[in-house]
């Protein structure tokens, strides 16, 4: 592991030199000039005369003396809005404004435009080119006035959006069916619609030297632990990278531990899951350009909880959660236990089962471990092919996979039927996890356990399990122990960990995460409703 760190260190040196270059080039982007044509010329050179930039020069004011430049990027802006509220205002409506006399006095032209003329909600003044470009490239419209070394950036963002659709990754039978989309503003709006509280605070900052992706931290002030909020801020500020193209980039850059198969940051495209997390005092990180919102701190139990659990009755939710834990171990251990038991511990198998296994393995040329590896790797290939393949070809995969590899391999005597059963139950169990990244962790560990089972038998598997538990207990997610509320143990939090207690009994928020404003509900004790007389 240390040598990997070494590799990183050398990379850091490179980035430092890069950063210096960057800073030098930034110095060129000085403050705006008062000459409009000079400014426009500079913008044109800076942006390389790209074809999607639109520069419209017009004249306004008395006798059209004042030149105004309007610059925007085609495709990123809402054209109708520019037409209506900027071009129309400046060219036509400005004449009706009673303060026309003030416009004539050139001195106050800028202030007048800002205060009386432009019917724009979100308008910022800009002083320098760096600020100008950030706004321009985010889809704002830049308004520059000849004679002023400053301009406006009017919000006119509007681009093609996928809209709010049903979530693909975490489907539910009952519960809200909206999902986040690629636009940050839509996503924050979805959160606001769920939590109408002044204390839902959203801080946004651009990250990525080139992409300048908007990354927002959302939390409920007063519930979220200030220290964790500060920690998230600190970790986000530490990021120095050219581009952020999705939540995964952020996740890898801010997570506590890289060398672990287990995810320490939760992600979901479901607004209700994020809202529930916020109410528990957790912090959401929204990244522009991806429908997947991150949620920290993330604990082991969260990855085995589905949003559906809260929309169904508590009894079935609890049972289903227990089922998920069972499948966790089935997905993790079945092939390795099969290998260990059939190669080392025959006495553990019931006699009739042993005979049946022995009969099936009669004529199979490979040892159990090789057989298991062949089938597991085949399955991984099938799964990967299924995900990557163009959708119309997908049916072919299932035919090839199920029929050719499953049925024919058994017929040909390459693998035993029981091995097919083992691999199938493993595969199905690994699809039970509501969080895909936990399924990935299990996938990786499964192979390690298979090697342990093949070399040391059950002894090896138990050693592996001990090592895994130790590792899990050593993990932290933003300072919170990963195995909370099991280790450290907390009675109250058990109500919503493996079990899901009825809503009326969950009085407190998770203790270690929020730590302030613990009380979730204070229902007065109500008598059972009586039948109408």
């Amino acid at each position: 592991m240390k040598f990997i760190n070494k590799l990183f260190e050398t990379k850091n040196k490179h980035t430092k030199t890069n950063k210096n270059n960057q800073l030098e080039s930034m110095n060129v982007l000085k403050s705006l000039k008062s000459n409009l044509s000079e400014n426009i010329k500079f913008i044109k050179t800076a942006i390389g005369e790209s074809s999607d930039i639109v520069i419209r020069e017009l004249r306004a004011g008395e006798d059209g003396k004042t030149k105004i430049g309007i610059i925007y990027i085609d495709g990123l802006v809402d054209k109708a809005l520019i037409q209506d509220s900027i071009l129309r205002t400046l060219m036509l409506d400005i004449r009706k404004v009673r303060v026309e006399s003030t416009i004539s006095s050139k001195k106050k032209f800028f202030e007048t435009l800002r205060d009386f003329v432009l019917p724009e909600g979100d308008m910022k003044e800009i002083q320098d080119f760096e600020c100008l470009f950030t706004h321009l490239l985010s889809g704002d419209t830049i308004i520059l006035i000849d004679g002023y070394a400053q301009g406006f950036a009017a919000s006119s963002r509007g681009w093609e959006d996928r809209g709010v659709t049903e979530p693909n990754s975490q489907t539910v039978v009952r519960g809200p069916k909206d999902s986040f989309s690629e636009t940050l503003r839509t996503n924050t709006a979805l959160l606001r619609r769920k939590i109408k509280d002044t204390n839902l605070w959203i801080e946004t900052k651009p990250i990525g030297r080139k992409t300048k992706t908007d990354v927002a931290i959302a939390y409920i002030n007063g519930i979220a632990n200030d220290k964790i909020v500060e920690e998230v801020r600190k970790r986000l500020n530490r990021i120095d990278i050219d581009g952020i193209l999705g939540g995964g980039y952020i996740e890898e850059l801010i997570q506590d531990e890289t060398y672990t198969p287990f995810p320490t940051v939760y992600n979901t495209e479901r607004p209700d899951a994020i809202a529930a997390g916020l109410l528990e005092g957790r912090i959401a990180i929204l990244v522009d350009g991806t429908p997947f919102v991150l949620l920290v701190p993330a604990l082991f139990v969260h990855f085995l909880q589905s949003p559906e659990d809260y929309h169904q009755r508590f009894d079935i939710s609890t049972l289903i959660r227990i089922l998920r834990y069972v499948s966790f171990f089935i997905a993790l251990l079945t092939p390795s236990i099969y290998i260990a038991v059939t190669t080392f511990h025959h006495e553990m198998i019931p006699t009739l089962l042993l005979l049946s296994i022995a009969a099936q393995r009669e004529g199979v040329p490979f040892p159990a471990v090789v057989e298991a590896l062949i089938m597991e790797i085949t399955f991984e290939i099938l799964r990967e092919a299924g995900v990557r393949m163009p959708r119309p070809v997908g049916a072919a995969i299932s035919i090839v996979g199920a029929l050719v590899l499953g049925e024919a391999a058994v017929q040909a005597g390459v693998v035993s039927p029981i091995m097919v059963i083992v691999v199938s139950i493993t595969a199905i169990s690994s699809f039970v996890f509501p969080a895909y990244n936990m399924a990935i962790a299990v996938r990786i560990l499964r192979f390690i356990f298979m090697m342990l089972g093949a070399t040391f038998g059950l002894y090896g598997i138990v050693l592996g399990l001990i090592a895994m538990v130790l590792h899990l207990c050593s993990l932290r997610s933003f300072g919170i122990s990963y195995m909370t509320p099991m280790a450290p143990f907390n009675w109250n939090d058990q109500k919503d960990a493996i079990f899901r207690f009825p809503q009326w009994s969950m009085f407190y928020r998770p203790r270690l995460i929020s730590q302030k404003d613990m009380i979730r509900q204070q229902n007065p004790k109500v008598e059972k409703p009586k039948p109408p007389q």
């Binding site: 240390k2 040598f3 070494k6 059939t342 190669t343 080392f344 025959h346 006495e347 006699t351 042993l354 005979l355 049946s356 296994i357 022995a358 009969a359 099936q360 393995r361 009669e362 004529g363 199979v364 040892p367 159990a368 471990v369 090697m451 093949a454 070399t455 040391f456 038998g457």
Partner: protein
């Protein structure tokens, strides 16, 4: 990469590969033994192994091959003989799943103690197999008989013994640890259930034996054999075997018949028995008190009897108690007079009751046992008479 990291890393990877899966045995490299039979031979032991051929057991299409094969070898020790068998068998014999250990009667008469060490020492063996004695025959012959219903003959004997010991009391299941603990106990001698061949052993070997509706040759569980130390000294008959099981507290469910008020029969099903044995030493004489409590119901009445009347029930209860008492007395008498062997473990009760006095008796317990005074007290209770009260026998006759 620095050398300091490469070396340990490579070593760890290589070490796990170097183990080469030590001790690894694939399931299809095993010859699974279902039973082992031990007989006398000139060289020492004649070991017969019944091997299952899994392909035939789980075969979807019927084959004409036998599902088990027996192999035999002689050797000075059991282990030696087992290894010698590899000359004949294609694979190494795996005895972890054996269901039965059968001693030939002649071998049992000479003593079984020496071979047991191997079975309790070997790490591969689960100790849940049953130990039996082949009555009037050699274990070798018995293991050759093919059985209907259960494909594996050893499994058939195993389950026959198990069910009969639960539902019919004349047999007793003995596992290795029980056998060894009664062997080493000074106040108890072991017993084993016998198994016999019914019919001709030659026909029983042939596959045609299982092709018939009424198999000409069958393997049948017999009665209980009494041992003195590790040597077989004789066989209990059916009722004595039952008596033994009552005393040992093995009876949970059984059926027997008593006379009705007159000569006709009335079948009683016992559902529960509880036995309490107390040892004591009076006037330097050891004494045993047995208290047995049995609960059952009327299963069939072939006589005119009104079971709704309490006095009739009391009468039956008395008869049941007498019957059980007789069985126990017969068993004790046989053990005291013929075998001179304490197969009931009375010595252990005396030991528990009076450890000091036991030190004296211990030296010559078999002699003491012959004259041991045993008081038997049986209480029976009929708690149910089934779905009808009065028998309809009277109406039938009219």
């Amino acid at each position: 990469m620095k050398k300091t990291y490469i070396i340990p890393f490579t070593l760890i990877v290589l070490i796990s590969l170097l183990t080469g899966c030590w001790g690894k045995r694939e399931v299809n490299e095993l010859s699974i033994a279902s039973a082992i039979g031990i007989d006398k031979s000139e060289e020492g032991y004649l070991v017969t192994v019944q091997l299952i051929s899994p392909g035939e057991i789980a075969a979807r299409t019927a084959t004409t091959r036998a599902v088990v094969n027996t192999y035999r070898a002689t050797g000075e020790t059991i282990f030696e003989a087992l290894r010698k068998l590899t000359l004949e068998t294609p694979r190494k014999i795996y005895i972890g799943h054996m269901r039965l250990l059968i001693f030939g009667e002649d071998f049992a008469k000479d003593g079984i103690g020496k071979v047991l060490d191997f079975f309790s020492r070997d790490h591969e063996i689960r100790t849940d197999f049953y130990i039996m004695v082949a009555r009037n025959t050699k274990a070798e012959k018995l293991l050759n008989i093919l059985t209907p219903v259960e494909k594996i003959p050893a499994s058939k004997i195993y389950s026959s013994l198990e069910t009969s010991s639960k539902a019919w009391v004349q047999t007793k299941t003995v596992q290795l640890d029980q056998l060894i603990s009664s062997l080493i106990s000074k106040g108890k001698n072991p017993v084993l259930t016998g198994v016999v061949i019914k019919g001709s052993p030659e026909i029983g070997m042939d596959i045609s034996n299982v092709e018939k509706v009424d198999a000409p040759t069958a393997v049948k569980i017999s009665t209980i054999a009494a041992f003195k130390k590790d040597k077989l000294v004789g066989w209990l008959n059916e009722s004595e075997s039952k008596g033994l099981n009552y005393i040992l507290g093995n009876v949970s469910n059984t059926v027997f018949s008593v006379h009705c008020l007159k000569e006709e029969k009335l079948a009683v099903e016992l559902r529960r028995t509880k036995v309490k044995i107390k040892g004591k030493v009076e006037n330097e004489e050891p004494k045993i008190d047995i208290k047995l409590w049995a609960e059952g119901n009327v299963a069939a009445a072939e006589c005119e009897i009104d079971l709704s009347k309490p006095e009739n029930i009391y009468a039956i209860q008395k008869k049941v108690a007498e019957r059980i008492k007789k069985l126990m007395e017969a068993a004790i008498k046989k053990a005291q007079d013929d075998f001179k062997s304490d197969i009931f473990g009375f010595g252990e009760y005396i030991h528990r009751a009076d450890p000091k006095a036991w030190k004296e008796f211990e030296k010559n317990w078999d002699k003491e046992f012959e004259d041991l005074e045993v008081n038997i007290n049986v209480a029976a209770k009929i708690s149910s008479t089934g779905t009808i009260n009065k028998s309809f026998q009277k109406d039938v006759e009219e």
